[in-house]
């Protein structure tokens, strides 16, 4: 059967969602052509304010990239507008002279910012807040100008204002009414919001009616009805949106405020449909995404010949996307004689909740400062639940005794989790089970939940945990190394030992790996385990991840950083000179002191690495490895008047003894000469603190992600004892930790007392140290090796450039 020709005017969220729904039902039904006025693929318009506020990038808001169109054989004309529809001949005409025939035509032309009918709106610097171009204009304007005025304190206006403040502009929001967001908030909530936004730097001018925009070619200011004027370099019109109906109107399609559609999203002309913000359904024009997605679904089914479901209108809730602001509103906002209100206003912590009730049913919700009840209340409202036997408000609840508000277990299956996409708890739960989903992203890819405004992501995470239930705890109990095997770390190490396996390939063959050559999780781990079990193991360099393979840190642009060794953070004039010479010779873009008391050279090209190392003539600092990084020291007794011990010498010796050693994750050390602890030994994997007559040894500290103060392991008298204890400690960590487990996590898992017990045993300590020093003997400086070994340079540090002659 020949495919029918489907043409869509508009390439926005509602339209493209319709196409996605059609493809889901039957991907072979239509030849699809889409015209989009903007020169971009479909992007998430809701998230424009996040881009403006610096919380998302352009790339992140693209919903369907160019490839999506290609993969689905959709002809996309981006940056091309349709200017005429011939409904008799069933053809559309574009502004580039293109004529396309259709069997079915969807109008998804969206809406336009409402531009006030006042003089001066055509001046440069007056914009709406509607598309990528507007956003770009604002970002550009913020670079050159200071003063922005936003007209309209509704959702869009406040999001725009917040973004402009973040961009460093001085922002006035002008509003006609006496309080902001009057369509969604009552006066109390509005004042709370206004206060918060004022604290963020937005200035409000309420009850001001703009009558003219001033300036010559470019905007200079605004004049209000009361005669006052303000200055402005940029004016953002956010007084509302109007459906974009011009094309429909000129083509003889019924239009009121929007394009009139019936419950099947059909217009008055056969084979012409409309969806999204441009439509008017039962006298309502929607501007939020959830109802538009409901329309998209009904229209898609209709076009595919399924006329079961009709669109019957939507009840919508509103949220504002401004950081630091938590609000939700739905239904009726203002009390009147027929409603009764339940209100909680906690000025103490800035929470306001109001529920409006008529005839024992919720008809309106306003929440400010705490919206975790929103889903539950919204559901009670849409389902018209009788609330007469509901519990009273609980006041001053003890922590941990919260109502079932955000308790996913208590939610019924038909409760909507993702409001934007209309995805219920039941849908997500069954997707998690059927497709074995384990992350919020996977749930999004599978069900669309969380893909629009993103506010429900934490709820999805709870639901994942809840749905996986026993399975979740089972996987927690038995943590396999990766998806390539069913064995846990301990089982695996035991098998390797028992069966005497000596290479990664052998392990995978004998222990029934599920993938051909493993993955980026098991390959480095196996290579590490073998290296611990066999001190003479020959390293499989190609099973290491990029930094350890290259012996340098890859940066996001593909260049590398180089950090030469600087034992104990002590350097010499000659080393500094060499570093300076290299920095000049290779035009190193950034030279920076690191947190570990050394110098990093950033932005070095892969093919320059061996030459840089040759010129430096300093060993690798292993700033990239799961190994001993640095031993940070204070000046100590050599110079400091407080120092009780020679911390520098001890630090240098520790670093020289244990450098290059492979460990489960990076290891940082610090040595301070007195309890003032200038080397911050209390947050190191191994920290040594000099005291009168000896040293204290601290372990398991962490100054990074898992901030943790180190525990005192023991106190010793001599440096030799320090080496003995630290060596045994490191080896015990190497032999028992999971791969990638830092000492801070490891010590909590195995217990400090257990480690103390092992290290107290002199015999055990001796064995541990023996195995450690045998292992240490196998290492050599990798930079020197690269300089000397032609094969290594060829394998890892070349970039071929081939010049092509174009005829």
């Amino acid at each position: 059967m020949e495919k029918r020709k489907l043409v869509m005017v508009g390439n926005g969220m509602a339209g493209v969602r319709t196409i996605e729904e059609i493809l889901k039902i039957n991907k072979d039904l239509f030849d699809i052509t889409i015209f989009g006025k903007e020169p971009y693929p479909n992007y998430n318009r809701i998230q424009l304010s996040n881009v403006l506020q610096g919380e998302a990038t352009w790339d992140e808001i693209i919903m369907n990239g160019w490839n999506w169109y290609k993969d689905h054989h959709i002809q996309l004309h981006a940056g091309e507008s349709v200017i005429k529809i011939d409904v008799e001949q069933k053809r559309v005409y574009s502004d580039r002279g293109r004529v396309v025939e259709y069997d079915e035509l969807i109008l998804a032309t969206g809406s336009l910012p409402f531009i006030l009918p006042i003089p001066g709106v055509d001046k440069q610097g007056v914009i709406g807040f509607r598309d990528i171009q507007d956003c770009k204009t604002m970002i550009e304007a913020a670079k050159h100008y200071k003063k922005a005025v936003v007209i309209g304190a509704g959702l869009l206006g406040l999001e725009a204002a917040s973004g402009l403040v973040k961009l460093g502009m001085q922002v006035d929001v002008v509003h006609l009414m006496s309080h902001i967001m009057e369509k969604q908030l009552d006066a109390t909530a509005a004042q709370m919001l206004q206060k918060e936004l004022e604290a963020q730097g937005i200035n409000f001018l309420l009850e001001k009616e703009t009558v003219a925009i001033l300036g010559d070619e470019c905007v200079k200011g605004l004049r209000f009805k009361d005669g006052t004027e303000i200055e402005a370099d940029l004016v953002v019109m956010a007084a509302g949106i109007v459906p974009n109906v011009r094309l429909a109107k000129e083509s003889g399609i019924y239009v009121n405020r929007g394009i009139i559609v019936n419950d099947y999203l059909e217009t008055n002309i056969p084979n012409v449909y409309a969806v999204g913000e441009c439509t008017e359904h039962r006298e309502i024009v929607y501007g939020l995404v959830a109802p538009l997605y409901e329309q998209a679904k009904v229209l898609a089914e209709n076009l595919c010949g399924i006329r079961e479901k009709q669109y019957e209108g939507s009840v919508v809730g509103t949220q504002l996307k401004v950081s630091g602001v938590d609000l939700f509103s739905a239904g009726e906002i203002y009390e009147n004689q027929t409603t009764k209100a339940i209100k909680v206003h906690n000025e103490w912590n800035g929470v306001y909740k109001k529920v409006l009730i008529r005839d024992r049913r919720i008809v309106g919700i306003v929440l400010y400062g705490d919206t975790k009840d929103s889903t539950r209340l919204f559901r009670m409202m849409t389902q018209k639940q009788d609330i007469s036997d509901m519990a009273e408000i609980v006041f001053l609840q003890a922590p941990g005794q919260e109502a079932s508000g955000n308790n996913v277990a208590a939610m019924p299956d038909d409760e909507v989790i993702c409001g934007c996409n209309g995805v219920t708890k039941g849908t997500i739960a069954s997707a998690i089970q059927t497709h074995n989903l384990t992350t919020v992203e996977q749930v999004g890819a599978c069900t669309n939940a969380g893909r629009s405004c993103g506010r429900c992501k934490s709820l999805i995470a709870h639901l994942l945990e809840h749905t996986l239930g026993d399975a979740f705890y089972q996987t927690a109990q038995k943590e396999t190394l990766c998806a390539c095997t069913d064995l846990s770390r301990d089982e695996l190490v035991a098998e390797i030992r028992e069966k005497g396996l000596t290479s990664i390939k052998e392990i995978m063959n004998v222990l029934g790996w599920k993938t051909e050559e493993g993955c980026s999780k098991c390959r480095p781990a196996l290579n590490y385990f073998l290296g611990v079990l066999y001190p003479e193991y020959e390293d499989d360099r190609d099973s290491r991840l990029v930094n350890e393979k290259m012996h340098a840190n890859i940066q996001k642009d593909g260049t590398y950083s180089v950090v030469p060794r600087m034992y104990g953070g002590v350097t010499t004039a000659s080393d500094l000179r060499k570093i300076a010479d290299v920095a000049e010779k290779y035009n190193v873009p950034l030279v920076k002191l690191t947190g570990g008391q050394r110098i990093a050279l950033f932005g070095i090209k892969k093919e320059d690495l061996p030459n840089v190392w040759a010129d430096l003539e300093i060993p690798s600092g292993y700033a990239y490895g799961k190994t001993l990084r640095t031993v940070k020291t204070c000046v100590g007794a050599q110079f400091c008047r407080y120092g009780t011990q020679d911390s520098m010498s001890l630090g240098i010796e520790l670093e020289k003894r244990f450098e290059r050693l492979d460990t489960p994750n990076k290891v940082k050390m610090g040595v301070s000469a007195c309890p003032r602890n200038c080397a911050e030994a209390g947050i190191k994997d191994v920290g040594i603190v000099g005291v009168d007559g000896g040293w204290e040894i601290y372990v398991g500290g962490n100054g990074g992600t898992d901030l943790r103060a180190a525990d005192l392991l023991c106190k010793v008298k001599t440096e030799e004892e320090v080496f003995d204890i630290v060596g045994a400690y490191l080896q015990y960590y190497r032999e028992t930790a999971k791969y990638l487990e830092r000492t801070s996590k490891w010590i909590e898992r195995v217990g400090l007392d257990h480690v103390k017990e092992v290290l107290c045993d002199e015999e055990k300590r001796k064995e541990l140290n023996e195995r450690l020093y045998r292992t240490l003997a196998r290492y050599e400086d990798p930079w020197k090796k690269a300089i000397e070994d032609e094969t290594i340079r060829h394998r890892y540090y070349t970039k071929r450039s081939i010049v092509v002659n174009t005829k």
Partner: protein, 106 residues
């Protein structure tokens, strides 16, 4: 109009290390070339499909996949497709092996 096919010699097969990607620049094209354990040679555009970008040549090679060295996305060396749960597509280049010579075909 006839379509012209360009074949560019990029490497000698025996000199290509197994499971270690090679970065190659041909005119404007940045290419990552991989010789797999099964003997095949595959070529991808040397650009991570992750929105933040990066290179692919230094990624860990496993069977017929490479793991993006910066963001750990798993990418098919056969068709350039990013594997679940991530999404994306990397451009592939056609490779021809003629005796000891490895060519990229445009």
């Amino acid at each position: 109009m006839n379509k012209t096919v360009t074949r560019v010699l990029v490497a000698k097969y025996d000199e290509l290390p197994v499971r270690v990607g090679q970065a190659i620049k041909i005119g404007e094209h940045e290419i990552a070339l991989f010789r797999l354990s099964n003997g095949d040679v595959r070529a991808l555009e040397n650009k991570s499909p992750h929105p933040k970008g990066g290179v692919l040549s230094e990624g860990l090679v496993s069977g017929e996949y490479v793991f993006c060295p910066l963001y750990d996305w798993k990418i098919s060396l056969i068709d350039g497709k990013v594997q679940e749960p991530d999404q994306g597509q990397v451009k592939t280049y056609q490779v021809e092996i003629d005796g000891d010579h490895v060519y990229i075909v445009f």
